[in-house]
Symmetry: C2
Subunit: 369 residues, 2 copies
């Protein structure tokens, strides 16, 4: 009896201690206990190669012949995302990036932060951002105080930085399961800093991601800041990817000489491996920095003329090659950029309003929509 | 003859030396020699007080009773601008700010950069930005390669930093003259971080500045980040300003208690000194962070209900008090903020599209337009 009583006391103390420990753990942060799952367990979508570094868009180590700058920018996580389902009341994240600091035309949220969307009534709806701190590793609650229902999430990764580690946090009692990308068809977008996402205010507002959420097609971001110059090695690499369509948006980075010498071999290299799919070339956005700078104005005009001429010449033998004019891509009030070159969120919104119906028209012809 | 020859040689050498020195100076930077003029000689517009620190919106030293945070944010240059005329082919700037670093939801260009517009065919057209470097002092060419015609300029100063010195650079041979503000009537906008400009991509895209350029009225930015809580001292200060109208946009910073207790005394204090001018109250933007966060959603809804109730009660005795509903201020696709709270450029564009016709309607009644 005494032994039993002692056992009961010990058991009770143990229970109370366990309860207190659990309680402390449970309400440690914002009244909710969080368990973290490494994103490596969930997988990363929006990439072209899944070998190599989890958060690099391309396994650049395997492609020694690619230009150094192109490879560097493809280590940035632009356009990649984690797709998951959870019934958590709160979504948080711990993540680390390289030691790079935001450029003066990008917010830290866009440069090295996270951006979360929820599927609701068939549409992706903004839920919250992961705000980076000043150190290389950050911790942030993206959204909290939700009703505890199962939801499908997209978490976009940083536009201009490489991730070295990412953990996603949910309520300790909540479910968390990896999902396949919600987008079936894949369109590869080869382009400049504008494609990479400069200067959207947050990662999910880069134009390929805006198009993806609105059209239900994965627009894979292969923007390479300042370095979209149509090298033949890049063309061969793109051609090796099993895609449903290609978008070529490189004029803002390609010189007149690049355009005259490289457009045909670049597009032909892709066409050779993909004889029947749409290749869509976009003219270079008319730089607002050319509003008064006559040299910039003449230069982009010349590049666009030359690019159009090259595309029209190729179109004579290529009925799957399309062209989207840059006229009016950023609207008409001259407020669509942050710095005269890079679209701000108004600029990207207007770009998407203009090119989405054109893309829909093309993709429907190929039963991709 | 020999003396004359020697004199000729010396004179020639002197001329050549002078020419070379001038040439070096003349083409030192970007092929153009620049002379810098301290902006103190040109004057700063878009402020309510012109005594005290040139780049503070308010001479806060004279107002010991104002809340500390309000005074701090009013030392930021948000919404202030230099108005000048020049026939220079290039406009550059050297400027120094405090040692503050950009918040994670603002670009450095918006936080501590410059933004330049030119009057063309009666409208203000974007010309270029001053990009800050990593140090407190920066140097930047805002626009170059222009035809050498006289143009009227607006140069907006940083949204979230205090300027300690600013020099404007023009071609050494070009004219530069100070202009009065191009805007005659003055509407004071008292508000939050959203009014102050978070998170426009560049200084000229904060909503008061967008309204000013589009309507030709000076919307004086007295946004005070996180601190628009309707203290009676602030009301008395605003009331002391000789304005043509007031906009009150403080709900996102004011608690339910603030709204219930302070709305009436705040508006009445302004009304007492300005019996016949329009006072326009704007409801708080519906936070996109409340899309899934039920607490935020309920809280902003309650604050807006209480604010509307207070305004409607005051309107019974005040026929010059107006209300603008927050419904749809940021559009309907949930992409109008950077972080769920602060409008990005799409958000500000939509705000202006909604409130501009309402403001035009009101200001016309008072012959302010």
């Amino acid at each position: 009896m005494r032994t039993n009583f002692r056992g009961w006391v010990i058991m009770s103390i143990t229970y109370i201690a366990c309860f207190l420990a659990n309680f402390t753990l449970l309400y440690a942060q914002n009244g909710v206990s969080t368990r973290y799952i490494n994103a490596a367990e969930l997988g990363v979508s929006g990439k072209v190669e899944h070998e190599g570094h989890l958060y690099h868009r391309v396994d650049t180590g395997r492609h020694a012949d690619l230009p150094t700058n192109v490879k560097f920018f493809w280590t940035h996580a632009a356009g990649t995302y984690i797709s998951f389902r959870s019934n958590s009341s709160q979504i948080s994240a711990k993540w680390c990036t390289t030691s790079a600091r935001p450029y003066n035309n990008l917010t830290a949220v866009a440069f090295e932060g996270l951006d979360l969307y929820v599927l609701e009534d068939g549409a992706w709806k903004f839920a919250g951002v992961g705000r980076p701190g000043h150190a290389d590793c950050s911790e942030s609650i993206l959204v909290k105080n939700m009703s505890q229902e199962a939801r499908d999430y997209l978490m976009y990764l940083p536009l201009y930085d490489g991730i070295t580690n990412l953990e996603i946090g949910v309520d300790s009692t909540a479910s968390l399961e990896s999902l396949e990308s919600p987008f079936q068809k894949q369109v590869l977008v080869y382009g400049t800093s504008i494609t990479q996402g400069a200067s959207a205010s947050r990662p999910g507002l880069a134009y390929p991601s805006l198009l993806a959420r609105k059209m239900g097609v994965d627009f894979i971001n292969l923007g390479t800041s300042g370095s979209a110059k149509m090298e033949i090695q890049v063309a061969r690499f793109l051609a090796s990817q099993p895609m449903d369509a290609f978008i070529i948006d490189c004029v803002p980075n390609s010189s007149v000489d690049n355009i005259r010498e490289r457009t045909a071999p670049f597009i032909n290299a892709i066409r050779e491996k993909h004889p029947e799919i749409p290749i869509i070339a976009i003219g270079g956005v008319i730089f607002e920095s050319g509003n008064f700078d006559q040299q910039i104005s003449r230069d982009i005009e010349q590049r666009n003329l030359d690019f159009l001429q090259e595309i029209e010449r190729l179109q004579r033998d290529d009925r799957h090659l399309y062209y989207i004019s840059p006229e009016g891509l950023l609207g008409s009030d001259h407020e669509g950029t942050i710095d005269g070159t890079h679209p701000n969120d108004i600029g990207f919104d207007r770009m998407v309003q203009k090119i989405k119906p054109i893309l829909e028209n093309i993709l429907k012809r190929y039963h991709l929509l």
